[in-house]
Amino acid sequence: MSVRHALLALLSEEPKYGLQLREEFEAHTGEVWPLNVGQVYTTLQRLERDGLVAAVGDEESAEPGPQKAYRITDAGTAELSDWLRTVPDLSTPPRDDLVMKILIAVRVPGIDVHEVIQAHRRYLIELMQEWTRLKEDDDGADLSFALVVDSELFRLDSVVRWLDAAEGRLRRALADGWTPALGAAGAHASPGAAGAAPRVALPRRRLGTRR
C-alpha cells in the first residue's frame, strides 16, 4: 500500500495539515489501515525532499508538525497521475504460505490432505463471515469501507475456490491411482518406492522469492 501516493491524492484536493491527512487517510480507506501521525510526517518530509509537495505560506522553514500545511506541486500531480495508471507487478506469484502447505501436505505420507484443506477452508470462511458482518452493519453507507471489504472478501473467496479446486484435483488424482510417495516419480514406479522419503518437488523458480 502506498501511503505516499495516498497523501498526494488527499493533497490534490487542497492544502492540508498532517493531522488532517491522517484522519482523512483513515476515513478514505474505510478505517481498515491505521496510520500513525509519525508516518504521515516522515512521508511528507520525503515528498517535500522529492519536490512533490511544498509547505504552504510562511511555514516553509518550520519542522513538520501540526502548524505546517502542505500543497501538492505540479510534479506531485504528474507523479500521482502516473502512479494511478501504472499496473502493479503481479507477474511473479507471491510466496503463499497456504499454497506451500497444501503442496507439501500432498507429499507427506500419513497426512489427510482433505482434513488439512478443510481446516484452512473453515478458517477462511470464518474470516469472511466477520467481514460480511461488518459489511452488513455498515449497509453500504461508507463507500470506501464497502470497497475495501469487497476486496478482502474476493481475495479470501479466491483462496477458498483454489482449495475447492485443489481438493477436486486431488480426488481425481487419487482415483487415477496417484499416491503421495509415488506421485513425484509417477504411478508406475516400483513398489519399493512407496516407503521412500517423500519427494517435495516445489517449483521454486516459478514461485519466486518476492517479499
Binding site: E31, V32, W33, P34, H114, Q118, R121, R122, L124, I125, E126, L127, M128, Q129, E130, W131, T132, R133, L134, E136, D137, L153, F154, L156, D157, V160, R161, D164, E167, G168
Partner: protein
C-alpha cells in the same frame, strides 16, 4: 451469542438422517447420519462439493423427500408421523422454498406468484393478494407487482421468489443456490433479503457453493461424501477484525 441461539426455539431438526438412492451395485449413499438443528432467526449455510449431499439435505428438510433413516422434526413435530394432509399443510404454511432458477409461474403476475401459496392454503383471493402485495413492497418491488416474470430482471425475479417464500407466517426458508446466475451485487442483495427475513424470526437453510454467499450465515456446515464433515465456530464479535494490527 451462540448460547442465546441455543436457547431459541428450534424450527428444524434433522436427526441422524441417512439417504440411499438405488439398490445393490447402483446404490448411492447421498447422506450418512447427518444431524443439524436450525433455530428461529438463525441462518445456516450448507457447503460442499457437487455430490456431497447438499441438495438431498435440503429436499429432505423441506419434506419433499423422505430420508431412508432418521427423523425430520419441524417445530418439534416428527414429519414422518404426520398424516399426508398435515404434512402438506406444513409444506404450505411453514416452509418457503427458493430455487436456483426461481421457479416462478410464467402465466401469473409477480403478486399472483407471491399470493399463490396463501390461496392454495385456503386464504381468500383478496387477502392473499393484499399479503402478496405487502411482501413485494417490503422488498421494494411494489411497482413490479403487476408484471409477469418475463418482464422482470433476474434480480427482480429472485426478489419475487423470496417474497413468495416468506409470505404469510412462514418460519423456515430453504434456499438452493439462491443467487443462481445473478451478478455479485444482486447475489448480495438476495442474501441481505434472506438475512432480513432471519432477523424477523425466520430460520433459513441456504445451500451454496459460493463462499461469499455462505459468509452471510450465522453458521456454515460442510458436507463431504454425505457426512457432516465440519462447521464454523460461533461468530466472533464484529470488532475483532479491525483490531488486528495490519
Amino acid at each position: 451469542m451462540s448460547t442465546v441461539m441455543n436457547q431459541r426455539q428450534t424450527v428444524l431438526e434433522l436427526r441422524s438422517i441417512s439417504k440411499v438412492f438405488g439398490k445393490g451395485a447402483a446404490e448411492v449413499q447421498a447422506l450418512r447420519d447427518v444431524s443439524v438443528s436450525v433455530a428461529k432467526g438463525e441462518m445456516v449455510a450448507v457447503m460442499g462439493p457437487s455430490g456431497s449431499g447438499k441438495s438431498s439435505l435440503l429436499t429432505i428438510a423441506g419434506t419433499l423427500e423422505e430420508p431412508t433413516s432418521g427423523a425430520v422434526l419441524i417445530n418439534g413435530k416428527d414429519v414422518h408421523a404426520m398424516s399426508p394432509g398435515a404434512k402438506a399443510r406444513v409444506r404450505r404454511r411453514t416452509i418457503g422454498y427458493v430455487f436456483q432458477d426461481f421457479n416462478l409461474l410464467p402465466g401469473l403476475t409477480a403478486v399472483e406468484n407471491v399470493a399463490l401459496p396463501l390461496e392454495l392454503d385456503g386464504a381468500s383471493m383478496r387477502r392473499a393478494h393484499l399479503a402478496g402485495l405487502a411482501a413485494l413492497e417490503d422488498l421494494g418491488l411494489g411497482e413490479a407487482a403487476r408484471r409477469f416474470p418475463d418482464q422482470l430482471s433476474g434480480g427482480e425475479r429472485q426478489r419475487v421468489a423470496i417474497a413468495r417464500a416468506t409470505v404469510g407466517e412462514r418460519q423456515l426458508l430453504l434456499a438452493d443456490e439462491p443467487s443462481g446466475a445473478l451478478d455479485s451485487a444482486n447475489g448480495e442483495g438476495v442474501m441481505r433479503l434472506i438475512h432480513a427475513a432471519c432477523k424477523r424470526g425466520v430460520a433459513a437453510v441456504v445451500v451454496t457453493h459460493d463462499a461469499q454467499l455462505a459468509s452471510w450465515a450465522d453458521r456454515v456446515i460442510f458436507l463431504r461424501d454425505g457426512r457432516l464433515a465440519d462447521q464454523t465456530a460461533a461468530p466472533a464479535g464484529p470488532e475483532t477484525l479491525l483490531e488486528t494490527p495490519s
